[in-house]
Amino acid sequence: MSESASPRRTEDEADAESADADESESADAASEDGAAEPNPVRTGAQAVIAALERAGAETLFGVQGGAIMPVYDALYDSELRHVMMAHEQAAAHAADAYGIVSGTPGVCLATSGPGATNLATGLADASMDSDPMVALTGQVPTNFVGSDAFQETDTTGMTAPITKHNYFAQTADEAGPTVGEAFELAAEGRPGPTLVDLPKDVTNAQTAADPGEPATPETYNPATEADAESVAAAARTLERAEKPVILAGGGVVKGDASEELRAFAREYGIPVATSMPAVGVYPEDDELAMEMVGMHGTGYANMATTHCDVLFAIGCRFDDRLTGGVETFAPEAEVVHVDIDPAEISKNVKADVAVVGDAGTVLEQVGAEMERAPDAEAWREQCREWKAEYPMDYQTPDDEPLKPQFVVEALDEATDDDAIVTTGVGQHQMWAVQYWTFTQPRTWVSSHGLGTMGYGLPAAIGAKLAAPDQQVVAVEGDGSFLMTLQELAVAVRENLDITVAVLNNEYIGMVRQWQDAFFEGRHSASEYDWCPEFDKIAEAFGAQGFAVSDYDEVADAVEAAMAYDGPSVIDFRIDPDANVYPMVPSGGANGEFALEEGQL
């Protein structure tokens, strides 16, 4: 044996072997169905597009660029709808919202380097909120990778912590199947963003490999059905509860389990509170609805979760904005935690009963196992009393400017039940969630976990493309809107019928609110009195613009904006001093929420 006969196969050998295997496989397949058609030879980029089509993608959001050009070239011959965005961050948010509203992954595209870094915020956002999304990024050719080439970034390295999983396509043969897998993986189990980095030589190279049926990787097998033992333990715990609360999280939306949740809560008479991503899964005008819990949740939801004896948490991850200080979160409750992701169980709040499975399946399993309803009439009465004691209310004194809550209610009244609301981040987001009465899942589209200003308008674009027949209203803050308002150009070009309602307080208001409460009112860099006139900005982009500062103009402007066929922007000049309450200071006890600044 000569020294060079190393036991390790060289890469060339391995490649040659797998190519042989591929050929013989496809030859077999061809002889089976009689049609001896070899796989078409195409570019890696064409395989990528074919894989997207095969996976069921319909709409893509992206921005062109050098390293992604082969993919765009392949897109030229495709039926897929591509929406060219003004900024990659917006492409990611639009894809994210598309995923939330439609339930199938939204797809975004960006070139290497700055294109990929611009996507990062949107990836992190989708990752925190477990939204299904696929990002395809161009990359410099493989022989340049690692050399700090023009527009090179380590995209997979940079996005590993903010994606569910990411891939680097090494060869043209791999490109198609990898994109198919990324698409499946994004939606399977606990959804999340996936990314495929596509070097330019890979997308340009020829391949005869068939992308195959898209499938998730073998190592990924989420359990949908829970084991009987944990289901029985959950049922027994709920049956003996005297003060039960259901805490529904985003997993109920993702699992399409809103119907199962409603049926379960009503059958067993259990009040329902939601996390922010779950808003809409339970109708907020229902008797048992306690609405949102947490920092700016309702007083009654916070009282109910603080005093319950059994907390049936479904698909929620106990974010700190929801729990407040964990020491005082549902401190006397036995926690029954249902989640499809085992790693969420006991991550922040210890589960007394852990149930791993899909929200809808588990609700049906537990429902079938329940022998009786909990004896909770006195508790339901208590919850009703809390609703009467802490109503969500506001005043509209004549001598003070327009209140934001009034604007939100006016928008809610003027729209259908299935109208979709998207938001930026700040006070306006909280007023929108508090004063809009949500009754349908997938109608509340916001940035929860990451809290990304600038999310509202691009999300409205994604939402409208996912649900063209539903009304879409973006509730924006002046600061948030300024971050991505360039996307108005896209809304105008695509003639998207969306309404942007800017709650303009000439402040980055949420920051000002905290400065008032915790920094002695020192308004360091929170005044936005240099804001442009948003109605005129809208017009400059070719959209319809309105400016409103009085109560009696609100209804007319809303009606005109809704009637306008295309994007419109209403600049609501609201009370600059309005603040969001109730409020639990961060790390505080939910049951001690403040109703006004003096109580913080």
Binding site: T156, H165, L185, P217, T219, T328, P331, D575, Y581
Partner: protein
């Protein structure tokens, strides 16, 4: 003040007396202290693909898990690797580590090893060479090997469990340690118990045999 919300003020509301600790466990506020940490050996079987180690180690730094050592190497199954982690955390933390690692897509299975697991670590020690006889004696005492001996330095290798390595390092200090390289612990479960759940040691043993057979065949035909 632009309030509008009504209801009893915070101090006028009933408050529960219960409490949770930092791990989110319900506790008796009078009696309970926080959880203690312990050391655990976690073994992860992973797909041997580019980036997997970065994904695992990135997870540790991102989630601020206290990691003591990490070793990685191939297994008998082609395309698989084993990552062995020694961590010091609370029970809840160890549970989270296992679940978070398991969640990574290229990870096949994760297990925590029992206390009786077989563990070993390797250390290379470079010491001053003035007293070769003494160095040799200590090396023998720790069943080590001398890898390099020159007029100025002697390099030895010791393997064993963590405690033995610590003791050996201490014993070599008298000569003046110039450099040290420790691998960190690696470990396997004892007997027939699989090191990670679902892993089937027998099957991989078979596949090694087959691979060796194949290899031999290939080599023979190459010779032809």
């Amino acid at each position: 003040m632009t309030g509008g919300l009504q209801g009893p003020a915070p101090e006028e509301r009933p408050q529960p007396t219960g409490r949770r600790n930092a791990q989110g466990e319900r506790i008796d506020p009078e009696a309970h202290a926080e959880q203690d940490t312990r050391k655990a050996v976690v073994s992860a079987l992973v797909e041997h693909e580019p980036g997997v180690l970065a994904k695992v180690s990135g997870l540790f730094s991102r989630r601020q898990f206290n990691i003591e050592s990490l070793t990685v190497g191939s297994t008998t199954v082609e395309g698989h690797a084993r990552i062995t982690l020694v961590v010091e955390e609370t029970d809840a933390g160890i549970d989270q580590i296992k679940k978070q690692v398991e969640k990574l897509v290229p990870v096949i299975a994760v297990g925590e090893l029992d206390d009786d697991a077989v563990r070993a670590e390797l250390v290379l020690l470079k010491v001053r060479g003035e007293e070769p006889d003494k160095v040799h004696a200590i090396t023998q005492m720790y069943e080590g090997q001398t890898l390099d001996a020159g007029p100025r330095t002697i390099t030895v290798q010791i393997t064993g469990d963590h405690q033995k390595i610590d003791d050996a390092v201490d014993a070599f200090r008298q000569f003046g340690i110039i450099e040290i390289a420790r691998t960190g612990q690696t470990a396997l479960s004892r007997g027939d118990t699989p090191t990670t759940p679902g892993e089937s040691p027998a099957a991989s043993a078979e596949s090694t045999v087959n691979q060796t057979d194949l290899q031999i065949q290939k080599e023979t035909s190459d010779d032809d």
